[in-house]
Amino acid sequence: MANDDIWILGINMTKFGKHKDLDTVDLAAQAARAALADGGVTMNDIGVIAAGNLMGGGGIGQQLQKQIGQTGVPVYNVSNACATGATALRTAIMAIKAGETEMGLAVGVEKLAGAGLLGGGGKAKSDKKTWEPSGRYGAVASIDGRIGTNAMPGIFAQVGMEYGHRYGGTSFELFARIAEKNHSHSTLNPLAAYTKRMTLEEIMNDVMIAYPNTRSMCSANCDGAAAAVVTTGAKLKTLSKEQQRRAVKVAASVLTTDPWQEACQVLPDVNTLTRNAAKQAYEQAGVGPDELDLVELHDCFATAELVHYDNLMLCEEGGAVDFFNSGATWRDGRMPVNVSGGLQSKGHPIAATGIANVWEICHHLRGEAGDRQIEGAKVGLAHVIGLGSACGVHILERSGL
């Protein structure tokens, strides 16, 4: 192992679901303490903390310190929509790469059970008694529902439909079958929010949210946290053989935003920044998509998973429908995608997701994934995207020991 390589020494995710008796800080503390224990280190070893939480009151990093150890190290509270967890991880990695410290802790946490629809409406726009233009469109009334939709299910529905318009082959049933796969995968994941297999009929007959996404094709709002301890190759060499064996190499860590595209002001372009992040990550890691043993990608909606097969170059350009229809992305296929159950079934506590996806990959690379283990997994990719937009891609490799 090279001295300047970055390694995940310890990592953990809490059970996703409803945690009525645990608050945001409890969940973050649970994941953080478990990640430290997993890595065989304590807060005394941590030189930097990066923490993310979107729906809480702010300052999650310092609130967390007060519960697990106030050592005076710098805290970076990060916020990057659904890419917040990946941003926290990347922030800790950057501090280490910059040489400021040799070990960091990244945490993402969210309390989201029962949160309902995200992104729509906004501040209650009581249509005023006199029309007064406001905002960057000079709007005299709320535009959500009058000029398209601001809510996530409809935005991502259009992302999938646009792919269908461009390349053909999509249908309501095709998108529902993607959700069928993820709900099936989650039956093997005891930490998933939902672990019940759903039939195609149940998915298609579920409550329609924004065609073609029914409720079970949308990411599941839930509570949860995830945390990771990262360090350098040089530091890892000083630790035990067992720590070295279980450590997972961060072969690539990339964060991108969307470059200007003609339509991106109208419908978020989740494609270009994902493709850019994937290209950079494959180059950094020196691996190609064909060498991946498993992928956890940001299936915030069934319609989104399809386009990311293409964006992450898991298939030929324009070939996502055929790729899915080949069975490749089921857990027994040639490129298992979202064997955790994905955001649709494992759940999506927003700021935790970008580290939880990495945890899932690490679990397989360490050979510790139990019933859902992808046998012999050596290399995996974790992807998240937050609208606005930010995209995080991490490529992870099993320790050679």
Binding site: A141, G148, Y211, W260, V266
Partner: protein, 139 residues
């Protein structure tokens, strides 16, 4: 006739209602919102450009569950109007997958959405099918 205001400032009312975009003088990028500078080339000179009132549906969704106060169902879409992507609702069409299609040709229409205490009427826009939906059945 009652005084009217457009729902958004890029909707131009009058004899032939249409949308306008701010076009970057340097690179041609178009925007509907107020800009500080061009996101594509960082230039800060813009001119108003008329956007075509007919176009083709490039993406749509039928929203049946929305934030409180937003009436459903409605069809949200992205319409390609002569190379300019426009976000709008589709109107005068049944909001179901049998009647709304990708690639459908549509045109801009305007309609009132309410009157304020001063008697001013707000006018919104949407896009309706160019050809009314063919009746089902037949051959």
């Amino acid at each position: 006739m009652a005084k009217q205001v457009p729902l958004v400032d890029y909707l131009q009312l009058g004899e032939q209602p249409h949308l306008t975009a701010h076009r970057c003088v340097d690179c041609g990028a178009r925007y509907f919102d107020r800009r500080n500078a061009c996101a594509s080339c960082f230039g800060d000179r813009f001119v108003e450009e008329t956007v075509a009132t007919e176009g083709e549906v490039r993406a749509f969704t039928i929203v049946t569950f929305a934030a409180p106060g937003v009436p459903v169902p409605f069809v949200a879409a992205v319409i390609d109007c002569g190379g300019v992507s426009v976000r709008a609702n589709l109107v005068h069409v049944e909001p179901d997958a049998d009647h709304v299609h990708l690639g459908m040709k549509v045109r801009l229409v305007t309609f009132p959405i309410g009157t304020d205490d001063d008697g001013v009427e707000a006018i919104a826009f949407g896009f309706e099918p160019l050809v009314p939906a063919a009746t089902a059945g037949g051959a």
